[in-house]
Symmetry: C2
Subunit: 159 residues, 2 copies
DNA sequence: CTCATACAGGACTATTTTAGTACGCATTGG
DNA sequence: CCAATGCGTACTAAAATAGTCCTGTATGAG
């Protein structure tokens, strides 16, 4: 379908949870407990996130995980990249080229890729910090209506 | 992952194929032949599309299918709606409410829904007519209206 | 120094989803 | 009438996903 995997979903929730207390070290056990998820599963997700440098792991007794970066700098796209198996792309064709049997499908590929970009961008424009913030119908400027999200341009000197 | 099903992919291709010759009646056999797909599969997809009024079916000898509407009026969102099982939504939570065990996840739901809207919109903005048209790098026409994809924002300001 | 705790990495199993096929029924043009 | 073609549904097969477990390594506490 058109849905992120449960692992990514969990991962987002876990990261959001950790983002609310970025200083603390969170162990797999704690997270599993707090979020009511299987410990083995939580552990698996944490490992993947650490491997992709979204989390920093501390081993040993009283170890655990902490966000590797501020929540404002972690986008959903990164989380998904870390936890989904397949590359990214709405269609198979959009991720790897080559095996289109038909011309029509090849013509469409470029179009799919453009749609992909839009989705991708939407995911990149939202950070963990945004996710734990109450709904915000609009904040300063358009929140993430396909445009600027982490808005700091209200004051006149964006970039 | 984050990918439409093969059925939707095929469906899009099939519709695009038909859109190139909207007057003609296309039988399942013909499509299977032309697009090199299994006839049973093609047939299954056609049925679903007809059921959702994207195609009009003609039974009996020398029957077949034809687009129910001009290609300009059929969006990818409709195709996907017709061919995907689950409702639509990047997360489970965004489609049906209720079972969030945690507060964090509930706070996030609204945010996911916004992201959903963006994706949805991107899919609604593209029609079959667009898909069979060559790549079209340009924006600002009626092509991929609405959603500017070029925005940036991944700069976090963690203060 | 030793041990319990906690992460690392990988293999494995179970479950769920998706893809693909089959088959009997209904419709219709020739 | 009958062969072509769609209709509906049930079923099977394959693949992807989710979830578990085991063995190894690091490290803080006692």
């Amino acid at each position: 379908m058109l849905r992120i995997s449960k692992l990514s979903d969990y991962g987002t929730i876990m990261l959001a949870y950790m983002a609310e207390d970025p200083e603390a070290l969170h162990s797999a056990a704690e997270l599993a407990q707090s979020l009511q998820l299987g410990q083995a599963t939580v552990s698996k997700i944490l490992k993947a996130l650490a491997k992709h440098s979204l989390l920093t792991a501390f081993r040993g007794a009283s170890g655990g995980y902490a966000l590797a970066r501020p929540a404002e700098e972690i986008s959903l796209a990164e989380v998904i990249d870390a936890l989904e198996e397949q590359p990214f792309g709405l269609t198979e064709c959009s991720s790897h080229e080559g095996n289109c049997a038909q011309e029509v499908s090849c013509v469409m590929r470029a179009n799919w890729m453009r749609i992909n970009d839009i989705v991708r961008q939407a995911l990149e424009d939202v950070t963990l910090a945004d996710m734990i913030r109450p709904p915000v119908p609009r904040r300063g400027t358009t929140q993430f209506k396909g445009v600027p999200v982490t808005v700091r341009s209200s004051s006149g000197n964006p970039s």
